[in-house]
Every structure is written in C-alpha cells, then in structure tokens.
C-alpha cells in the first residue's frame, strides 16, 4: 500500500519529533486493520480509489499530525480575556502618549506640517508595536504560569467595591470617542502649527499680514484657547484608557465651554483687534480694511459667547434630566448599597 506510506510520511511531518515513530507505527497498524476488515467485507483487495477513500476518511495529514501536539494555542482561555482587556487599555494609552510627545515637538520645530504628518503616520506603527509586545508578554505568561507553583495572576485579586462608579455619560461610545480624539488631535495640531505656518489659517492672505498689526491680547487668547482644547482632548483620550474617568468627561466638557465663553467675553473688551502697520500705511493700504475686520471680529466673538453659553446651558439641563431619571436613581441606590 504505497499510498499509506505517502500518507504517513505527510502526517509524520507534522508530529512532535519525540513521539513521531511510535505514533506512526500505531497509525499504520490501525489503518491496516481497517483496510483488512474492509477487504474481508468485499472479499477482494481494495482498489486504488478505495484505498484513497480510507485515507481521506482518516483525515487531512496536517490536521491529524497537529492533533498530537500537547498545546495548540498561544494564549490560553484562562488568560485570553485579560489579554483582550490589556489590548483595549494599553493601545489607546500608547497612541495618546505618542501623539502628546510628538505634538510637544511642534513648539520646538519650525516645520510644523512635517511633525503633524509624522504623528499621524506613526499611529499605525505604535498600535502594531503595542499589540506585538502585549502578545509576547501574555504568551510568555501563559507558558510560565502553569510551571510556577502558587503563582496567581494579578487580575484575579479584584474586588467589587473597587469597581468604578456608574458613569454619568451613559451614552458613551468607544468608537465615537476614538474618532473624536483623532479628529481633535488633527485640529489641535493645526491650531498649534498656525504661529509657524500662518498660511494654514489665512491661506494666500497670509502674505498680507506684514501690512497689519495685531492687538497683544491675541497672543493670550491663542494660548489660553489652545490650553482649553488641549485639556479637553486629553480628557477624551484618557477616558479611552481609563473607563473610571468617563464620569468626569461631561464636567470637563462644561468647564471647557465656560472657559471658552469667558475668554470670548474678555476679548469683547478689546477696543481694537487689528490695525494698519507702518508698512501698511507706507504701502497705501486702505484704512477701511482694519475697520471692517474689527467689526467682523467683534461680531464673531459675540456669536462665540452666545453659542458656547447655549451649549453649556443645554449640557446642564441634560445632566439634571439624567440625574432625575429612574435609571440613574436606581443605580445610585445600588451604589449606596
């Protein structure tokens, strides 16, 4: 039975080396026994097709061989839930840290666009490397854990009382927050790039800026506004990695709106936002341009104050409504218990 030798050779290629010959000897004896029974039933030797059918029924050589291996998974079922938890926690955190560190480089580098693109292109690499390291650590842990006596997994010591309180943000969506964090990071990078590349905000009009002077209050406005957005972005990013922080997210959002409204109100007190520079006067630029710009900016800040106050009021109403809803009350009661 030449086919049997070829079949056993194929199975042998996938067997553990130590037991290979013994297993093949046993398989040969069992298969030949089956063939003999079949021949006795038919009263004649098997045809090639019938031999083939016997081997086919025995199973694919790769599958048959692999079933003799003692362990066929990288991370076992006892550790797998913790592995997934680690992936979900560490990867967003690694992405946030990588983005923050790289965005900080913006302040020290003049070529801001390159840095922004660098941050974006590095994200898939950070995700890949974090996942690879977590997988290596967990597969090692899975290998070592059964061989160490009295070794307990740190995650096993959880206590119900240490679980995070019920979140105020009941509509929290992980995917939506990831999207918001990424979009906000791009927006923030754009905002922080403006001092180095004014073209990013003004477009072709950036070349005309030498003919105008800006009020010194603009600098304060710019940095305070960037700080408010950074804090909000950081708060969103932290909630991805630390679910316990989700309860503070609505408060951070409201504080951000209040601060923005206050900042815009402060800007409304500035008498003149922009005026012609000496170069502008010498170049004979129209004095009505800064006049129109000042009116437009004043109006823009007024609209900004109104919008942020309306948003803030709406969020406060939503929060009060949620707190008085039966679902939250019962959760609070459970918390008290």
């Amino acid at each position: 039975m030449q086919l049997l030798d070829r079949y056993l050779q194929a199975v042998g290629n996938n067997l553990p080396q130590k037991k290979r010959d013994d297993i093949l000897r046993e398989l040969r004896a069992n298969i030949l026994e089956g063939v003999e029974d079949r021949e006795a039933e038919l009263g004649r030797p098997l045809t090639l097709e019938e031999e083939e059918a016997v081997l086919k029924q025995h199973g694919n050589p790769v599958v048959v061989g692999m079933r003799y291996w003692p362990k066929q998974y990288l991370i076992g079922p006892s550790l797998f839930p913790y592995y997934v938890y680690a992936l979900k926690t560490v990867i967003p955190l690694a992405v946030v840290i990588s983005c923050v560190v790289n965005l900080l480089a913006l302040t020290s580098k003049s070529v801001a666009l390159e840095v922004v693109l660098g941050v974006l292109f590095r994200v898939p690499w950070v995700i890949f490397m974090s996942a690879a390291w977590i997988t290596i650590v967990f597969s090692l842990l899975d290998f070592v854990h059964p061989h160490v006596p009295n070794c307990t997994i740190p995650f096993e010591g959880w206590q119900p009382r240490k679980l995070p309180p019920v979140s105020m943000d009941r509509n929290f969506s992980f995917t939506k927050t990831v999207f918001e964090v990424v979009v906000s990071a791009i927006g923030l990078a754009w905002l922080l790039s403006i001092p180095f590349v004014p073209w990013l905000m003004l477009g072709p009009a950036a070349s005309q800026m030498k003919y105008f002077r800006l009020a010194p209050e603009w600098l304060t406005f710019y940095w305070v506004f960037a700080a408010i957005l950074s804090v909000q972005w950081l708060s969103d990013a932290v909630t991805l990695a630390a679910p316990a922080w989700r309860r503070y997210r609505p408060f951070v959002g409201m504080l951000g709106r209040a601060a923005t409204a206050a900042l815009a109100s402060w800007m409304l007190k500035v008498p003149t936002f922009i005026w012609l520079s000496d170069l502008g006067r010498e170049a004979g630029k129209d004095a009505n341009i800064p006049l129109s710009l000042n009116m437009a900016l004043h109006m823009a800040f007024k609209v900004m104050v109104i919008i942020t106050i309306v948003q803030l009021a709406w969020e406060i109403v939503k929060m009060i409504t949620r707190r008085s809803s039966p679902g939250v009350q019962s959760s609070s009661t459970q918390n008290a218990l």
Partner: protein
C-alpha cells in the same frame, strides 16, 4: 447569498451537539478501557454503542490520556501484527469512578429539570 434562518439554527444545533458529545467523549473512552483494547477495536466498540468518533480525534485523545497518567499502554503482537494496547491505570480507574459519579449527578439533575419542561 446570505444564509437562511433555518441554516443558521441548524449550524447552532450541530455546534451544540458537538460540544455535548465532546464533553462525554473522555468518559466514554475511559469506560471502554476497563478491558484492554487497541485503537481500532476501541473505535469499533464505541461505534457499536452509537458513539462513532473520528480516528483523527480518538488516537490523539488516547495519547493525551496516557500522558495524563489515566491510561497504560504496551506494544504487543496479535494476529501477526504489532499493536498498541491501552487499559486504565490505577489513577484512571479512580478518575473514571469520580467522573461517573459526577455524570450520574448531572444526569439526575437534568432529568429532574427536563421533566418540568
């Protein structure tokens, strides 16, 4: 083409049936090895009792049970062919008794519950 609902429920049933049988497999194999047998005759004995098992599942399972100390094996010649015979080890006998007790308890509970359905 998307699978129909009945295809899906058939798949679910097949998977659940497989899981149910897998749970009983070790008990069935151990129970058949109170007398010495080799792989091929063990498979036949199980099939005769309506518990057919693929060769590619049964033979590695025998090796695993032997590694766990539940079976003993030896090569011996029978009908002019060398065969590997398996039988329960003393530990295997203890584990079989424990598993049987567990199985009977489970069976009792299930029968009670199913009577109420």
């Amino acid at each position: 083409m998307t699978p129909s609902k009945s295809d899906n429920s058939n798949d679910v049933f097949e998977n659940l049936k497989l899981e149910l049988r897998r749970g009983c497999l070790v008990l069935a194999v151990l129970s058949q090895l109170t007398v010495e047998r080799y792989g091929y005759t063990l498979r036949q004995a199980l099939a005769e009792d309506n518990l057919a098992i693929d060769e590619s599942t049964l033979y590695p399972l025998l090796r695993r049970l032997e590694t766990q100390g539940l079976l003993l094996s030896e090569w011996r010649e029978e009908d002019k062919r060398n065969k590997r015979f398996y039988k329960l080890s003393p530990d295997g006998k203890k584990v079989l008794a424990q598993l049987l007790a567990e199985w009977q308890e489970l069976n009792k509970s299930l029968n009670r519950m199913l009577r109420e359905v």
